[in-house]
Amino acid sequence: MSVVQTEQLTKKFGHFTAVDHISFEVGKGEIFGFLGANGAGKTTAMRMLCGLSKPTSGKGIVSGYDIHKDTEKIKRNIGYMSQKFSLYEDLTVRENIRLYAGIYGIKEKEIAPGTDLLLEELGFLKEKNTLVKSLPLGWKQKLSFSVAIFHNPGIVFLDEPTGGVDPSTRRQFWELIYKAADQGITVFVTTHYMDEAEYCNRVSIMVDGRIEALDSPANLRKNYECDSMDGVFHQLARKAKRQAD
């Protein structure tokens, strides 16, 4: 049962084709890495899958809902986290969770116990009433992710989630992702840290709006004869016509 399914998905802005007929599938509980250089089209593609932007042509199904017709249903059934924004800095940890839980329609009586459980698992129950702006960056990111999956969505979209944190925090973050995937939540993550691609079950690399490669990291490394994802990416990026200038 695939959680994401696209067929010839395309997005054009006037004469410019940002996403060029991409087709792929993502299975339940998979950690799927969506890679590509800036301008390759990954953000645009992700926005279509999140129901934030209507495709020009092609089909797409996310969690069983059509991305043309059921965008509102999609939004209610997915989780989303981005590097640029996640939590309100001038609200406390508890207030942020309350806010997002409320938005996603979690029942009132489930919110408080759910909050405590979440914080205990993360190990900062005592920061429940701390303003988010006082937390270190790594904690904010872990909290963001947990809040994004608080309502148990079928799939969570992560847009460049681990910028700027130290290696150990980054690892802890990926452990959270592993746990979520283990519980059956599909994780769709975009990143430009090529070494993070290694955490994923499968990875797709977009170049000039098209998917140029889609496979597990191990297979990609074998096929492109590189010992790291960095090398694979480098080879594919060389072909890019949409010059990063």
Binding site: A37, V165, P167, A237
Partner: protein, 307 residues
């Protein structure tokens, strides 16, 4: 060899946070010295003190034999500085920015063109474009040109490759390697562990203190524990089981494998393999590996970031 940077017992607080704690190190002339550590570790504070933009609470620092407090004017004439975020004039063109900085430093583009030529040729097709319209990688290249155009004695690069795509990152470091041959010393900070390998010597920094100062090779050699990379079908369950194994010192996910450090030589891979197989794991691949810089960092930093 002349020491181009000398720092002793530097301390600096911001309110309640101890940004720098007893920082001491030297940089030799012509060296590429890397400061490796995550956000908030204190790298930017250190750079600002050395470029005379901030005062330390205590301790001393000399750049090219000039005291950073008393002789700040001299230092400001001789160093090139690239602060963290892109700090050039977005509404001036590539050409105009370079012209501006050359003039500010009492030189011309022609005088030191040979230093920036390799980088500038990539920018040249876009020389009339406004700097704000360049991509991340190109902006950094332009910033580097502007920092170099007056042939500084020392280059201070604060996280020059953050947010830049991997291809440009690689090219940037190749350019830095070439600058070494011109006798320019470089102090560079980065959160990317893989870039550490390109420096002559590195200092690992966390929470305002240096964990270790050494050549990258020596740091890796000094990693005392046996290291093993483990891959299995279900990585999450693998992680849990690995951590419960008795002979393990630490276990961290590292992408498609988990890096496991044994407590000592007595623990063997075969032991680990049979333990895991008993736990029901399939498709196991276990290999002994040498430590990378990141393994060393994790080990030294105790793996937990405290508030």
């Amino acid at each position: 060899m002349n020491k181009i940077i000398q720092v002793q017992n530097l301390y600096r607080t911001y309110g309640k946070v101890q940004a720098l704690s007893n920082i001491s190190f030297d940089v030799e002339e012509g060296e590429i010295f890397g400061i490796i550590g995550p956000d908030g570790a204190g790298k930017t504070t250190l750079f600002r003190i050395l470029t005379t933009l901030l005062l330390a609470d205590s301790g001393s620092a000399f750049v090219d034999n000039c005291d950073v407090v008393k002789k700040y004017r001299d230092i400001r004439k001789r160093v090139g500085y690239m602060p963290g975020k892109f700090s050039l004039y977005q509404d001036l063109s590539v050409e105009e920015n370079l012209q501006f900085f050359a003039t500010v430093f009492n030189t011309t583009i022609e005088e030191n063109y040979h230093l920036v030529r390799d980088i500038y040729v990539q920018l040249e097709p876009f020389k009339k474009r406004k700097a704000g319209a360049l991509s991340g990688g190109m902006k950094q290249k332009l910033a580097l040109c502007c920092a170099l155009i007056h042939k500084p004695r020392v280059l201070f690069l604060d996280e020059p490759t953050t947010g830049v795509d991997p291809v440009s990152r690689k090219e940037f470091w190749e350019m830095l390697g070439k600058l070494k041959t011109e006798g320019i010393s470089i102090l560079v900070s980065t959160p990317y562990m893989d870039e550490a390998g390109r420096c002559d010597r590195i200092a690992l920094i966390q929470n305002g203190a240096f964990l270790k100062i050494e050549t990258p090779d020596k740091i890796k050699k000094d990693f005392a524990l046996p290291l093993c990379a483990v891959h299995g079908k279900s990585m999450f369950a693998l992680l849990k089981d690995l951590r419960e194994f008795d002979g393990i010192y630490s276990c961290f996910p590292f992408g498609d494998t988990h890096h496991v450090a044994f407590k000592d030589e007595s623990v063997s891979i075969e032991e680990l393999r049979s333990y895991l197989e008993k736990k029901g794991h399939d498709d196991l691949i276990l290999n002994t590996i040498g430590a990378g810089i990141e393994d060393c960092f994790m080990n030294l930093a105790d793996g937990e970031v405290s508030l």
